[in-house]
């Protein structure tokens, strides 16, 4: 990696501003392999690089992408997908049925331990009939299987074989079929993408640059200073500054995301609902929300405007008497200022991802509230690798602070089902499993809605998590970017049709 050092100093690299869309993320994705995607930053970057068999059109209806057409068998247990023949990978290799089969079998393979396993669990097997036709067989009869074939396809020829591993070199040199290809990971934590020459539909923007700017405050200044063209999430307090600026357009979009404090139900004490209710009753959530910004409180795993939100469920209130009664019922005893169990004062550890927005304000505030109530809380900020290991894999924490973002289907199965791949808190409730299955298999939308509202009430009573709030979210784009349509979840789905003056 020799670098003409002196030249770098003198050469004024004229970044072509015309076709270069620069957008900011709190943390650059460490891993660009869609099989292991887990953060929103990775989802957005994957949308630029990779494609699925089907995708959303601008009215969010399903339309073919890598697939040309498909034919569902009469018994609805299998389908044959005809693939496009004019698609090439970024490294020039042709896209074939083997890639689709490889991706599905890799994600299904337990050894891969893919975070996206839930999205292919319904496919029993996949086989390539010829270079451009794939047969998929399903575990259960499916009505509209193409609605579930949005997951991204990876190239078979760049992997040494199954099962895939998180550390594969593909993570730093990703190759996809998407409208942009990765040119390089730059030294200053930014990632550059360039238009994929022979992609079937032309893109209005030649280059896209992802720039990691950890400080949210500085992000808003950068778009004001026109050093960025797009900001995925604007902090509520920066909106006033951007709102009356004539060079920036604000696009409100709902990301169905809610924040929560998760209790580890496998830890002694926290597995007792009384103790969990007591802790929830200690926290004044409105005071917790104040330094973070504007949003709405949530009483369960859905956002208030969701069809599944049960408005009859009351929000948790900070009530010392309720907490004291619940603690005593939970077997704790008060000694002086602190709550103790078996003589020892209660000390809980809370883990949070270090690049979570306003994480420090929330954790310090929470520590303060719990300390005045007699519970000592120790906070650990984890970097990406430690977070994945301690939370995703080992569930090694007492409390955790994080947020979930859902697409418009708000499918919370992976979070609350006893076998859910994202059930970090270890919530096991046969009744909830039953309700989840009933909702999934319901044929009537009214029934699904009523079932999930009932689920909301049940989860709120069990309190596996203290549900906090959903934040108002805004994207800010420079007026130079035209023809902008933002996909509510993956943001860049319609980016190929954007244009830049």
């Amino acid at each position: 990696m020799t670098r003409p050092a002196v030249l770098a100093l003198l050469l004024l690299p004229l970044v072509a501003h015309a076709g270069n869309l620069r957008y900011a993320e709190d943390q650059a994705p460490a891993l660009l392999n869609p099989v292991y995607g887990s953060s929103m930053a990775e989802a957005r970057a994957s949308e630029l690089l990779f494609e699925g068999l089907y995708t959303d059109d601008q009215e969010l209806a399903t339309r073919p992408s890598l697939a040309e057409s498909s034919e569902l068998m009469p018994d609805r247990l299998s389908m044959i997908v005809a693939l496009r023949t004019d698609v090439t990978w970024h490294d020039g290799q042709p896209f074939t049925a083997d890639d689709v089969v490889f991706t599905i079998t890799a994600m299904l393979d337990k050894g891969t331990a893919s975070t996206e396993y839930g999205r292919v669990a319904w496919i029993k097997s996949a086989e390539a009939l010829d270079a451009h036709r794939v047969r998929l067989t399903f575990a259960r009869p499916e009505l509209h299987p193409e609605d579930k074939l949005f997951f991204k396809i990876v190239p078979k020829h760049l992997f040494s074989g199954l099962p895939l591993k998180r550390g594969d070199t593909f993570r730093t040199k990703p190759v996809g079929t998407g409208p942009w290809r990765l040119t390089q990971f730059n030294e200053d934590n930014s990632v550059s993408f360039r238009k994929h020459g022979d992609h079937r539909n032309s893109t209005g923007i030649d280059e896209v640059t992802l720039r990691e700017v950890a400080d949210k405050n500085y992000q808003a200044k950068l778009i004001l200073y026109e050093s960025l063209e797009a900001l995925v999430r604007v902090l509520p307090r920066d909106i006033a500054m951007l709102q009356n600026n004539r060079k920036v357009e604000l696009y409100p979009y709902q990301t169905n995301s809610w924040w929560y404090v998760g209790y580890n139900l496998n830890r002694p004490g926290l597995n007792n609902p009384q103790v969990r209710k007591a802790i929830s009753a200690l926290v004044d959530v409105d005071a917790l929300l104040a330094p973070v910004g504007t949003g709405a409180r949530v009483s369960g795993p859905f956002v208030p405007s969701s069809p599944y939100y049960n408005h009859d469920v009351r929000l948790t209130e900070a009530d010392a008497d309720v907490a004291d009664a619940a603690f005593v019922a939970g077997g704790l005893s008060r000694v002086g200022e602190a709550w103790t169990v078996a003589g020892k004062p209660v000390v809980l550890t809370l883990v949070a991802h270090q690049s979570l927005e306003s994480v420090q304000e929330v954790t310090i505030n929470l520590q303060s509230q719990l300390q005045t109530a007699g519970i000592r809380l120790e906070v650990q900020f984890l970097d990406d690798a430690a977070w994945k290991e301690r939370v995703w894999r080992n569930h090694d924490f007492d409390l955790m602070l994080s947020q979930w973002t859902f697409d418009r289907n708000e499918d919370i199965r992976e979070q609350f089902h006893s076998q859910g791949t994202r059930n970090f808190v270890g919530y096991q409730s046969p009744e909830v499993d039953g309700l989840l299955d009933k909702a999934r298999d319901a044929a009537d939308p009214f029934v699904r809605k009523a079932t999930l509202r009932e689920l909301h009430a049940k989860i709120a009573t069990d309190q596996p998590m203290l549900f906090l709030w959903t934040l108002d979210s805004y994207a800010a784009l420079s007026v130079k970017v035209k023809n902008v349509v933002i996909h509510p979840f993956s943001f860049f789905t319609f980016a190929p049709s954007w244009t830049m003056k």
């Binding site: 990696m1 670098r3 002196v6 004024l12 998180r166 550390g167 050093s227 970097d383 690798a385």
Partner: protein, 291 residues
């Protein structure tokens, strides 16, 4: 003399790391896999200094450090030069009986220079950005290409970084104080009187005699300049040895950290050796001492 300093520095750092329990590689989520991969691919085993663990797993430390140091040198050498030039200029600006405004200016310079590099860097970026933005808002200037430090890479960002590096953490005030001493000694020196009495210009002799102490002064500034580098590269988003060292420390990647620390020690030792060789070449007395 050079070998001695570097060897001792290396011994000290490595001794420090025998204290570290276990191996940072285990902190990695796929630690065991990466360790196995490293051992298979490059035949190394735990404790080897050769390869990065977390910053860019598997990359050879030597290569990483070399590349990073070359970038940092493009900041370090100009910064040293600026420190010396500004130091002597400030010293020359303040002859013993200087006017009040000169002394005031000198005091102000010392105050600014005494600010830690962190605060100096942050304030400089803030002032430049908001100042330019105010001018742009009023339409006095149109948008400069380098605008919005430190996001845009470019020569202006490098120049501002160099100035901050040269001035911060009392580096400039130390150099100007030492320069003042040297100039005073020179004025009182006997041979200057002799030359002046012969009616010749004394500039040539002065420069000749300043060369050796200036070289020594420069070599003493190298360690503190390198320390400032870590902060300046982080504040100005310049990927050099400072950023690499910081990422290594944050990620507990001690092979890379040790590599950069040794690089810094080597750099200082080399600077000292250069100063000594200049002294030997220029000053005959030093030559007898050295022989």
């Amino acid at each position: 003399m050079v070998g001695g300093t570097t060897a001792l520095a290396a011994l000290l750092i490595l001794a420090l790391f025998s204290v570290v329990p276990g191996d940072a590689i285990d902190a990695l989520p796929n630690g065991p896999e990466v360790r196995a991969q490293l051992e298979a691919q490059w035949g190394i085993h735990g404790g080897e200094i050769g390869y990065s663990l977390t910053v860019s797993p598997g990359a050879p430390v030597g290569e990483l450090c070399a590349a990073a140091l070359t970038t940092s040198l493009t900041l370090l050498f100009p910064a040293l030069f600026v420190t010396l030039a500004a130091g002597f200029a400030a010293a020359a600006l303040l002859p013993p009986g200087a006017a009040a405004w000169r002394r005031g200016l000198h005091l102000l310079g010392n105050a600014v220079s005494s600010a830690p590099t962190v605060i100096l860097a942050l304030t400089t970026v803030l002032v430049i950005n908001s100042g330019t933005w105010a001018l742009m808002e009023r339409g006095l200037i149109d948008r400069p290409a380098w605008f919005a430090l430190p996001a845009e890479p470019g020569a202006i960002r490098a120049v501002v970084a160099i100035v901050v590096l040269a001035v911060g953490s009392a580096r400039l005030s130390q150099v100007s104080a030492r320069a003042r001493q040297l100039l005073d000694e020179l004025d009182r020196a006997s041979f200057i009187e002799a030359v002046r009495s012969r009616g010749q210009g004394t500039l040539g002799t002065r420069l000749h005699h300043l060369l050796v102490p200036t070289a020594r002064l420069a070599s003493e500034q190298v360690p503190s300049c390198f320390a400032g580098l870590i902060v300046v590269e982080r504040a100005f988003n310049i990927p050099g040895a400072g950023t690499l060292f910081w990422q290594a420390c944050a990620g507990r990647d001690w092979p890379v950290a040790v590599g950069v620390a040794l690089g810094a020690a080597l750099l200082t030792a080399a600077a000292r050796m250069a100063a000594e060789t200049i002294a030997v070449v220029v000053d005959p007395r030093e030559r007898e001492l050295a022989a």
